[in-house]
Amino acid sequence: MSDNLARAFESAPLRPDHDPRTGAEERRHIEIVSPSAHKRPRVVYALSAVACVGAVIVAQLLLSVGISQGAYEISALRASQVELGRTASSVSEDLIRVSSPQSLAANAEALGMVSNSSPAYLRLSDGAVLGAPSSASGSQAGAASLVPNALLAGVPLVTQLPAGGQGTSVASAAAATAGSAPLAVAVTDGLPSPTTR
């Protein structure tokens, strides 16, 4: 940056032998450049360099504070992600369990439904009745659950839930209704029906 070199103020002709004019006043002269002219800029430069270094250090500190702050945040979020994942798998396990055929059948039975094994179809194109329609008698399959599912132990039936959840399991409830003939499910207070307003 400092520029205290001697320099020619007037450049000599590139090829002096071709120049016809030669004289004392045209001789090159050399002069010492005063160093005082460059003193002030050097201080400024030093200061600015120090300031730069300082700024870099401060920025780096702030950055690493930010990153470690982020690390704590990531750690907390990771932990809550794990927790939420656990909750999700736990509730989906519950859902899959109650949607098993044993659970559905026991609940349908508890709601007073019976299966009809003799299907009949109405063909819309000509109104023909296909098959031999008959009333539902409940089939053999509609009795006690004979297909065990250890996961359903302690899961209450849907009809038992509003009454404070006595906690009777599907299996035992189905076993209890096994006595009441497979032909018709005993419904004491009528079939549940929706309230229409």
């Binding site: 990153i67 470690s68 982020g70 690390a71 704590y72 990531i74 750690s75 990771r78 656990r86 909750t87 798998s89 736990s90 396990e93 899959i96 369990r97 949607s99 098993s100 055929p101 044993q102 059948a105 094994s117 003799s118 299907p119 009949a120 179809y121 296909l130 098959g131 031999a132 008959s134 089939s139 053999q140 399959a141 009795a143 659950s145 004979l146 297909v147 065990p148 599912n149 250890a150 996961l151 359903l152």
Partner: protein, 592 residues
Amino acid sequence: MAKRSMSSKRRVAATIVVLVAIIGLFVVRLVDIQVVRADSLSADSLGNRSVEKTVYGSRGEILDANGVVLAGTVMRYDVVVSPKNTSTFTRTVNGKDVSVPVAQAAAEIGAITGQTAEAVQGIVTDSLTENPKSDFAYITKQVDVDAFRALDALDIPWLYLYQNPSRVYPNGAVAGNLVGFVSGEGEAQAGLELGQDSCLASNNGIETYERGADGVRLPESTVTTKAAVDGSDVVTTIDSDLQWFVQQVLAKQAQATGAAWGNVVVQEVKTGKLVAVADYPAVDPNNVSATTNPDDRGSRAFSASYEPGSTFKALTAASVIDAGLADPNSQIVAPFRYLPANGANINDSSGHGDLRLTLTGVLIESSNTGMSKFGELLNDQQRYDYMTKFGVGSVTESGFPAEDSGILHAAENWDNQTSYATMFGQGLTTTALQVSSIYQTIANNGVRMPVQLVSGCKAADGTMTEVPSAEGTQVVSPTAARETADMLEMVYQQGWLAEKWKIPGYRVAAKTGTAQMPDGKGGYTKGYLVSVSGFAPADDPQYVVSVSLADPVNMNSSAASAPVFQEVMSQVLKKYRAVPSGAAAPDLSGTW
């Protein structure tokens, strides 16, 4: 110049002094760190080390045809204590430090895991008597998330919880005999879990990271040294709802008739897919130990072969018609006892005079002597070839582990009696699957489709691999198959069980069988294996249903299996919306 030299000397001296001082400082610091404080520093660094963590790959699921999970993987937790560290500890409750003795902690743990406080403490003391420095003892294994959270909240310093991925079977015993189960260590033990292990298996991965003194993972320090690989899903052809229904019906009838065991196979005619394979007794893979007999833990439909009996007559009839040697109206005289020229001795199950029967009539009456007179039109080798083409004597294409091929001796090894007995399903053995496959072939215009239980191995990106072949083989001519089906429809209409297995609105083809069961000592037991096999709708066959009940002591005839056939077939026709039959059944005469 002298002054300058002085100052320069002083400067050099000062520099040396400063350098020596700095180096001295470093040496002191070095000795301090490397020698004096070495132990405490390396102890500090323990908490600062990089941590290695197992990343669990999840074992693939076993799905039914509609994507219902039959077997899945869930995270469970093992509860572990460090017996040598088991002591009273302090716990902060509402900002106050409370001292918790071991007995109280044991009671708290037991309340969650379902053990008594004594049992928990017993585990600790047992472990300590065995090894006073014991640092590891299982309290219990595989607790669920709720128990995990409750145990974690106890804040007991000597209690640890380790992840342990575990298998769950949401539908319990529905298809339990097919799905199989895995051991506590996650090793495949039976069924599809074992047979499809190469598809299902996962690989655990390892990742390492560094953590600070407070346990927080340092940013950018995670290195996955080995990636975890999840297993692929096995997609079966089973319909879980139908499977449940079939198992329920089978179990009910098996209990009512006192049967030792039984099975029902439901197969799609056009594709050979198995939509339900029910076994009784059923096994709940969630609770395998509840099934005490090891034979009940597998699927007898695949693994048990027995003499099929009269259901096999359909095969002989189809073979004879295909060879052009008879048709449904061909006539013979069926005596009670038939003594063919080769010295065999054939008789029917109950005494009767000579009957003038057509081939249709032979099937309706299920006459052994009548069948023999038709069967002898083919030589042994020809009948053997037909049987092998129908799949008798070799395992099916299902890929189920430990499947039985049944016994079919080469034709040249048949003795005189066997030569005739094989015409009506004795002197050879078949599995329930093979019988179902024979009826599938007859129902499908003589084209046998590969028996299919698994439709493929589905990777995470949805691509299916190991898709089985769906190429059928023509076993008998379409005409022979059609005529056999017509005769079986006559059996359904006019056989002795006609009232028991009636399905209003549909035309059905079916045949009963009553076979003696081997006692394992070269003789026969007193019990019978009673069966019904058939398909519907007869005018456009869609499904084969094959029912077998072993030794139904309260009702030792195929009348025991007929109601199961009727209910299952009704449900199948309803479920798959099979259109009720319109055209009238053919009219074939059984007598002449």
